[in-house]
Amino acid sequence: MSQVLRIILQRIALGILTLFIVSIVIFTAVNMLPGDFAQAILGQGATPEAIESIRRDLGLDQPPIQRYFAWLAGAVQGDLGTSFAQANFSSFVGADSGGSDVTVATQIAPRFANTMFLAGVTACIAVPFSIMLGVLAALYRNSAFDRAANIFTLSSISSPEFFLAYVLILFLAVLNPVLPSLSNIYDGMEFGERLQKTLLPALTLTLVVTAHMMRMTRAAIINLLASPYIEMARLKGLSPLRVIVKHALPNALAPIINVVALNLAYLITGVVVVEVVFVYPGIGQLFVDGVKTRDIPLVQACCLIFAGAYILLNLTADILSILSNPRLRHPK
């Protein structure tokens, strides 16, 4: 086990290093956005003095390196800063209004929880569905079922997300009103109701991510079917399903896990279009709003969370695929 442990620790260290590098990229990129918050909020007619005063208030007049390290130090301690858009400007109010600032963390937390909920529901539907579809497609390869599954998943991944969303709304909310077309969930909502409201966006996202996972499962399994141990399993008189599930699938896990992780990361970071269509209060919309208003702390925090999610999921996938290799789990 010590070998596995060492590899895992190595991967974690690498993950942290990557996150650090990404934080530099995020900071640089965000600071290169044209215009700044002061200009965006005060508009065309603002006096240079007013802009300067807001900048000073927000610390925008500091050199970038200093701002970066202040931000990084805060982020490491869990303090992601204060949203510019929610800040009280002491220079306008005249006095310190005392701690009523809304921090980025409190702003993001509920939105992020919603996003995770949506991603989680989608994953629970999409992952078993695609792997099952992949196994069946491999089992009945080149049959009508295989072709139909391929055509269905490929056309759904090739269509724009909003289009899929509207098609689902048309069929499941308008023509057969079984699900609500708006996903305006809020705090303190019952789990059942929340789930019901989340179902349509989750189904839309399932259609988007299924193709990738299903086709990788199918390809990884078919890739193994020519190997001698699969022939051996068939020569033992096992049923085709058992050959695939028991003998091919465990050896095909590594590539499948990686594709699943990639798609889960997409569910957390790339779903803004679906959120907009269903008015789902997720982190994606918050992020886009932040960019519009040049709300630097908010944008940076979102980026950092996205990057963290990506790294964490890929790290998990790496570790799981290492563990799926019996040579590493059981050294000689």
Partner: protein, 549 residues
Amino acid sequence: MTDLLLKIRGLKIEGRSDEIWNPIINGVDLDLRKGEVLGLIGESGAGKSTIGLAGMGFTRDGVRISGGSVEFDGIDLVNASAEVKRKLLGSRIAYVAQSAAASFNPAHKLIDQHTEAPVQHGVMSRAESAADAVELYRRLRLPNPEEIGFRYPHQVSGGQLQRAMTAMAMSCRPDLIIFDEPTTALDVTTQIEVLASIRDIVEQFDTAAIYITHDLAVVAQMADRIKVLLKGDEVEEAETREMLSHPKEDYTKSLWAVREFKRPQKPAVAAGATPVVSVRKVTAAYGKVKVLQNVSFDIHEGRTVAVVGESGSGKSTTARCITGLLPPLSGSIQFDGVEMPADYRKRSKDQLRQVQMIYQMADTALNPRKSIGEIIGRPVQFYMGLRGREKRRRVEQLLDEIELPADQYFDRLPSELSGGQKQRIGIARALAAEPRFIICDEVTSALDQLVAEGILKLLARLQDDLKLSYMFITHDLATVRSIADEVVVMKEGKVIEQGPKAEMFRPPHHAYTDLLLSSVPEMDPDWLSNLLKERGVDNIGDAAVDKMG
């Protein structure tokens, strides 16, 4: 004829390539009685495995039975439904594959794979089958029979895996087992143990078997009858003793003759001559594990030094040290009396050019996406600096050298070549650098005897023409007999014995050399029994047999 178990009549099998069905087997008959062992021999491409699998009613993807009949115990396997065949496979007909390492599923423990067929076929419960597995492991003389089943395939050695696979084939007590080259991938000392185990267990349970191999001496030990195949046709069939003493057909006689190829003994090397390559007290390790200890030997101009030993004895590691891929911990490699840098990255282009390698698996050693012209042209350009027309001319010259017509082969891809032809390309690629020394790492062990003989003759001719020196790594002592001038015997990273070939094959030997030499199968059908008696390994206790039934 009532005890006829397998009856094949006029079997025709076709394989598909490029959407065209080509015949593989052109009408073969085969009879197998209960408890009988039939040997199928022939070179690769003769259709041995295809017939063996057809005897199970099974064809690989892209292969189909196009005519004839296969009857197992009265059941027509050609027309039987998949369901009917599935019931027979594993329970009444079992299969032992060539490479146990590749045919055991890496994701499951041995015991789980062993019990799968009995449980799925409803022959035994898991617990019964697991207990039975231990008993079978014991009978096949596997070490730690109680515990070995709980290991994963990668934790067990090749010879042990092969026996575990035989045990697995026995798990449902089948009437028929197809053994498809079960010892080809093993070295001679391990091969003996596996052969003896297989023979005993087949006898004990009175199982009928088809034993497929290209090694005549092996089949002589195992089979009651031998059938010789050539390119999908039967050449002849006879009782084993009859076949060995009086082969009728020319082809069979030529198979017998392969073992006779021998190079004349060369005169002794002049005293004080500088060896081309000198390995001096080399000690090397992978990480903390020492794999070579104080290895020394010389290779003189125009000579072949055969390095022999079981797998894991350090033969290939020595080659890696010489080529600079694995810098030794201590000791040195001298070329023409001059020490070479230990790391290949520090060697000059000329030093690199002088030492070339030919690999065991020509399949994996050639880039599948490059044409033959490109594969050989690359070292011609890299080492000799030739380009354009000159390069092409040199490549054609090299192809001529290895006896492949340049106009036919220049633009082909490796996948369009046979195993022997691929190995020839490997030789041409090594020659392209115009080296003085070539390391041949098991270059014939993946080939059939006839093809291997062609390669050995080619290497011998090239040696005479170009004054090449060879280091010939092999575990096949027949090859050593035919090509070597000097022999180095290695065991556990040390040189056990070395000297001229004539001396090595003449007693008295070092005990280990003796073991290696005596383990090479001979054409005498009683050889294995006699050898086991000599070594004091009795056939497995008969008391145990009565208990199991």
